[in-house]
Symmetry: C2
Subunit: 408 residues, 2 copies
């Protein structure tokens, strides 16, 4: 698979995070000649928070993670690519428990502190014994370096590995954040990415971790869309090892978290945007800003209606400033708007305002903007002060090529 | 534009409907060398009912029709193709009123009995004076033949003209039903087709007409989807001239309407299916039957989640029995289901049941079914007795070709 034309030209230098170790290997579950199995191990005392797909056909790993998340502590997460372990009934649940027991046995911890994620084809039997047989090798290979290899091991139709890092301070002490993600198909709220794992050495009580990951996901992974479809396996997990030197934080509203929260949100947004940049067949990254809605939620729903519209996305692919389709998509959202105050801009060039086309518009600057690979659409709906930003990509022949022949 | 491969091989013989006359002509609004303006005139005493897009950016003709529909009577409908007259502020409203006044003047009726519809590009000024100048020619050309020409005149990206006819009896007397529709892009509930006009000589009070068109649309135009987008202009109108010999019916629950309602529903479903068969780029017609839902509404929402899923639609285009994507789409609908009772069939061949894949499945009959042009997907969700049928088409390169370069 050719690397997405929207892939970042440079990637950040991976940094180790105290208390976090990685190992990958080739299990040959579906792919050949590349790692497809990942183990991340955490020091004792690691707290965890997570958000998951709201699908009613959620995969067996998601069901397991939701259940053990109530414990609030984690020692490992094991992830395979190529088989999603979804829709396998009791056998699927048992496979997850078996994986967790195998890892727990090798690490000397409780199975309920081992998180599990799977991505790939739905409905096929997970070769769980083959996976469990490789757990000792994984554990033997654990090392504090390996963020980019971890990012590579969880890819499916992704064309580039996605990771991000950041530093922040809590109460004057430096903490590190690192994260990996995979996306590509079935990317839409909620959740927007299939899998993302974030790690930090911050010392945070589990409810703090949960609060941070949930609010961060809303502004990042839940604000992107590739095709409006929603995976059965979407999971975002944040692990905090507590190895940093600052005092423990146990209140999500503690103001000492402000810089950390901002840095974490940046990492999550960066990963989410990489997912859009790797949207199947994407040739353009589209940033949709909606303002003037009755509230932020309404603005987000309008933005997603635009970002999910096949007619808007094909127009962008065709570099056509067809703002009529944006009017259509706004209307389809059925949110409160003021038609006579609607305004639409491409790349800062207003094409419609006060409920009508801009007269005698010079179309050349708009056309020039649309020929680029990063498109911005600003929409004002004239009803209030709610705003939101949503990211999507265009809809091209590449999407059809990839998805009309993925399984077979 | 090449005729859709799914177009019907034969079309019914158009029949006249007492009290209905048609005229078309080339106004040159957008298309050249084909009629793009249609007038249908009705005898005095004609009643009307209609349903419209629920978009908040509904076109100016829709706003006009909604308002005058309360009067319940109609003398004409004027329709143009090529310009949707949407998002033009006061100018757009005035254009519609001007059209209605022009037709009313020529026919000698009230403007409030003249319905108006427009389809085409959004946001451009409707050349209303050019249209009004042609109204005398239209009126002069009115004739009781002309159903198929009427169907042709309202096409935009449609590749074939869509009409249907039926006979039924009310209280022992024969009545006739005829209808035309156009669709193609932006086809999704609600409404599913951009424009449909149905005429009958039945003698029905306006509330009866409204009840019949609303319930019929729910089972037809609102049960089809091409791309999940919703037009600003969708309108379905039913006109009843009252020229048939049966006694007037003024109660929608009157059992003498049963045969008529069934025939009308058939005509609407036939037209709706033609719209799907002409879905942009469609190469396969997909019938999705959902049973076992908690109620019919839930079944319909599950069916539409499947029918709107780009991943399902591309799999069908690729002739891939990727039922995992159907599991995904079911989950995305967030309707009550019983995972362990889920079953999925293609063309009657069960591929998944009791919450898992069918073991040792013979894939050849499934593959043979998927190579055909009419695909059926049956889904049982194991929670109740609600069922629904939804129609869609596959998602192909043709859709991208058409929509990445429509306006320019």
């Amino acid at each position: 698979m050719q690397r997405s034309p929207l892939a970042p030209s440079t990637m950040p230098q991976p940094v180790p995070v105290a208390g976090v170790r990685y190992a990958v290997l080739e299990a040959g579950l579906r792919y050949r000649g590349r790692p497809d199995l990942l183990l991340i191990a955490f020091d004792d005392g690691t707290t965890v928070g997570g958000v998951f797909t709201r699908s009613t056909t959620a995969g067996h790993p998601v069901l397991w993670c939701r259940r053990i998340l109530t414990g609030g502590s984690a020692r490992a997460v094991i992830v395979n690519a190529g088989n999603a372990n979804v829709f396998r009934g009791r056998e699927g649940d048992e496979a997850v428990a078996k994986e967790a027991r195998a890892v727990a046995g090798a690490l000397g911890c409780a199975p309920e502190s081992v998180f599990v994620a799977s991505t790939g084809v739905i409905g096929q039997r997970l070769p769980v014994d083959e996976i469990c047989a490789r757990v000792p090798d994984l554990v033997a290979g654990l090392a504090s370096e390996g963020l980019s290899e971890a990012a590579s091991a969880i890819m499916t139709t992704d064309t580039f590995a996605k990771w991000a890092v950041a530093k922040a301070t809590i109460d004057g002490r430096e903490v590190t954040i690192a994260g990996i993600a995979k996306g590509s198909g079935m990317v839409a709220p909620d959740m927007a990415t299939m899998l993302a794992f974030l790690v930090t050495d911050a010392n945070l009580a589990a409810p703090v971790v949960q609060s941070l990951v949930a609010s961060g996901a809303d502004r990042s992974f839940n604000a992107i869309t590739v095709d409006g479809d929603t995976s059965t396996s979407d999971s975002v997990l944040l692990f905090a090892t507590g190895r940093a030197a600052h005092p423990a934080i146990d209140d999500p509203a503690d103001s000492r978290l402000d810089a950390f929260r901002a840095a974490l949100d940046d990492v999550m947004t960066e990963l989410a945007l990489m997912v859009v940049r790797d949207g199947e067949g994407a040739s353009k990254l589209v940033t949709i800003r909606v303002s003037g809605a009755v509230d932020d939620g309404s603005a987000r729903r309008i933005g997603l209606a635009i970002g999910n519209s096949p007619l808007v996305k094909t127009a962008i692919a065709g570099e056509d400033a067809n703002w009529g389709r944006i009017i259509m998509a706004i209307g389809k959202a059925r949110e409160p708007i003021e038609n006579d105050a609607l305004a639409i801009s491409f790349g800062g060039h207003t094409v419609a305002r006060d409920g009508g086309a801009v007269p005698d518009l010079d179309e050349e600057p708009v056309a020039a903007h649309l020929r680029g690979s990063e498109i911005s659409i600003d929409v004002r709906v004239g009803r209030g002060s709610g705003d939101a930003t949503v990211w999507t990509c265009d809809l091209t022949h590449g999407y059809i090529d990839i998805n009309a022949d993925y399984r077979s």
